[in-house]
């Protein structure tokens, strides 16, 4: 059996694949954050909570309404997106004229409230959620046993990332959005309803987080803490990619996922900090991030 740096090659392929799977989640979550920051200049600390809400929405839909995984994939993001729209309209929109720090504090506070509520209702140990029957089981790839569901997550995440990128970079709606960030007054003068655009953007970002939550529900325990465990890593991904850069968030998400996976083989104890070490290095060398523009 061939080895690479003392690790059998098949084991290494397996770890790279797993890194890609985890990277899918990082990419999906940082994508939503990057969209919100890029267009609203809001640092959305509630993103982890919105991811958790997505997973819980799927759990609640299944156990109280009897709605399964596939419809939840649509419904949960819609519900969480709607909640986010209300939050944006009633609270967040009042803070746009102030320092971005206020938006950060508001969303951080909201995240704590949501987490606390769900911990009170459901406990910290979380709730079980099974993958849909069509995606249960796995295939033996020779070098590793690949759960079918994880393969689905990678594909779904790629499609969503690509779709969002196309929506913002290539469509008329996306062009309005980008223009509104550059110069809101001018775009409004052309008859575009800018506040509504911003509301929709926040809703979209939150819906992306919720979608990631539904995708995660069959893999991780559906727990009130699942978001806060992930959010800090995702922020590091966004910073490394370049705040607000959508492509940067996607590419960095996958890249750091793989890197973290490899760290787990060579030096497992460091796996929880490797992303932050990279963040520190990137900030020193390229303060705007790998894909960010200097302002």
């Amino acid at each position: 059996m061939s080895t690479i740096f003392g690790i059998p090659a098949p084991a290494l392929y397996g770890q790279i694949l797993i890194g890609l799977i985890n990277g899918s989640f990082y990419a999906l979550l940082s994508l939503g954050l990057a969209v919100i920051f890029g267009l609203l200049r809001v640092i959305n600390f509630a993103h982890g909570a919105q991811y958790m809400l997505g997973a819980f929405a799927a759990y609640l839909l299944l156990n109280y309404v009897g709605i399964g995984y596939w419809p939840s994939l649509m419904l949960a993001p819609l519900i969480v997106g709607a909640v986010a729209v209300v939050i944006e309209r009633t609270m967040l929109s009042r803070l746009y004229s102030l320092d971005p720090l206020y938006g950060l504090l508001l969303t951080f506070g909201l995240a704590l409230i949501f987490e606390g509520m769900f911990r009170y209702w459901f406990g910290a140990a979380g709730k079980p959620y099974s993958p849909p029957a069509q995606l249960a089981g796995g295939v033996n790839l020779g070098f590793m046993f690949m759960p079918i569901y994880r393969g689905w997550v990678v594909i779904a995440s790629l499609v969503i990332c690509l779709g969002t990128w196309l929506l913002i970079e290539k469509t008329r709606l996306g062009a309005y959005l980008r223009a509104a960030t550059e110069n809101a007054t001018l775009v409004q003068a052309f008859g575009v309803n800018v506040p509504r655009l911003l509301t929709l953007t926040y809703g979209l970002g939150a819906a992306l987080a919720a979608l990631a939550g539904v995708l995660a529900a069959p893999i991780y325990q559906v727990s009130p803490l699942m978001g806060s465990n992930l959010i800090i890593i995702v922020f590091a991904v966004v910073v490394v990619g370049g705040m607000g850069s959508i492509l940067g968030a996607i590419v960095t998400g996958y890249m750091l996922g793989v890197l973290e996976g490899l760290t787990k083989v060579f030096y497992p104890e460091a796996s929880s900090i490797v992303i932050f070490v990279i963040m520190a290095i990137v900030l020193l060398v390229r303060p705007a991030g790998l894909f960010g523009r200097e302002e």
Partner: protein, 402 residues
């Protein structure tokens, strides 16, 4: 006659006065602090339900000891030893707390026990696992009540080795508790003729275990020992099923897993697991009655941490009663001497190193179709006698016993 009456009156006065003076309670209140994780990964393992269990013990004792009221205070240590130490210091120095209990998370328990030893205060640990509490870092005023890593290793490890699980690989949480659990289990497995092929250390609250599980899968071991706890163990079990570990002939040993986590994981994912606990609600009428009361207050069934906390508070109050004071030295002496006989432990005894010895049990998690109600989750496989489950005081490495 008159003189006799007067003499009697005087006599009774002195007796009463003596009584009042002998039964001393400092500050006229006995304060017990429950310090544990109330918001993190171990919030269901102990958490606020442990505080409720402590209140039940106070209620069952009658609400007063030596005529003084009993008060329970609680705080969240967030699994951080520094937070725990500063809360403990404030409790002892300014809030007049007499004893601290529960103390989930080994690193926290060791920190608070060290502080309590310096301040000459009693602490009783139910939530933490490391045997160091009654070993290298033992305290004359420190007690370890519900379980420890040795008992878990003997219970779960022993059962699996006997059934042919002789090659082990460990997934270990990267802190004091994980090392202690891995170490104890390794020693036990090797002493029974088994092998330990390797281990991998993961950070606390790791979300994704697939990398580690893949390493375990390719190790050639037939048992994967999960030397972690709480949400980490739940996630590892769930993902092990996903990656087909059990299909490829490996067995999972959840070394620390209680009813709270089994309930959270669900029987579908947890079925067939072998685990060691010190208490189960469906073992006797007495247990069922206690669990019913607990359920009414908390909405959940208790695990060994919750009932253990109940027992430790009750025993502490009994010790104050026996000692006739709440001063640390005499109460610690009484705690060492008195047998433990309550809903939690039968014929329990406290060793000179502070370890409370009682019988543990080996359980198997039921299949979904075998379970008759929401909390009907365990089948009892065996009883692990206390003397086998816990280390002898002389072998514990505790200075006090040499």
């Amino acid at each position: 006659m008159k003189i006799l009456k007067k003499a009697l009156f005087a006599l009774s006065c002195t007796v009463m006065a003596q009584g009042a003076y002998a039964q001393q309670v400092s500050d006229n209140v006995v304060k017990i602090g429950i310090l544990n994780d109330q918001s993190g990964v171990y919030a269901d393992f102990g958490g606020k339900s442990s505080v409720e269990a402590a209140r039940m013990a106070v209620q069952d004792f009658g609400g007063k000891v030596l005529g003084a009221p009993i008060e329970i205070v609680s705080a969240d240590h967030q699994n951080k030893p520094d937070v725990a130490a500063s809360v403990a210091r404030q409790w002892y120095d300014t809030d007049k707390v007499d004893a601290i209990m529960e103390l989930t998370t080994s690193s926290v328990a060791l920190a608070v026990q060290g502080l309590s030893k310096d301040k000459k205060k009693i602490n009783i640990v139910t939530g933490a696992a490391t045997t160091d509490l009654t070993g290298k870092q033992c305290s004359p005023y420190g007690f370890h009540w519900a379980y420890d890593t040795h008992a878990l290793a003997v219970g779960t490890g022993g059962a699996l080795v006997e059934n042919g699980g002789n090659k082990w690989f460990f997934l270990t949480a990267d802190y004091a508790f994980g090392y202690s659990l891995e170490n104890e289990t390794s020693k036990f497995v090797k002493s029974k003729g088994g092998q330990v092929l390797g281990s991998v250390r993961h950070p606390l609250s790791a979300n994704d275990f697939s990398s580690f599980l893949l390493q375990a899968q390719s190790s050639g071991a037939n048992v994967v020992g999960l030397a972690n706890a709480g949400l980490d163990t739940s996630n590892a079990i769930k993902q092990a099923a996903e990656f087909g570990l059990t299909q490829s002939g490996q067995r999972l040993a959840a070394l620390l897993f209680t009813l709270a986590e089994v309930h959270g994981l669900g029987l579908k994912a947890a079925q067939g697991l072998t685990l060691t606990e010190g208490w189960y609600w469906d073992q006797s009428d007495e247990n069922r009655a206690f669990a019913k009361r607990f359920m009414e207050k908390t909405g959940r069934m208790p695990n060994m941490i919750h009932v253990g906390t109940y027992s430790s508070v009750l025993q502490y109050l009994k010790a104050i009663q026996k000692a006739g004071t709440d001063a640390t030295e005499p109460v610690a002496k009484a705690l060492h001497e008195m047998p433990v006989e309550d809903v939690f432990a039968k014929k329990g005894k406290v060793l000179p190193n502070g370890r409370m010895v009682y019988d543990m049990y080996l359980f198997q998690v039921k299949k979904p179709e075998e379970s008759k109600s929401e909390w009907d989750m365990y089948t009892q496989l065996a009883k692990v006698p206390g003397d086998d489950a816990f280390i002898k005081a002389s072998e514990s490495g505790c200075q006090l016993t040499q």
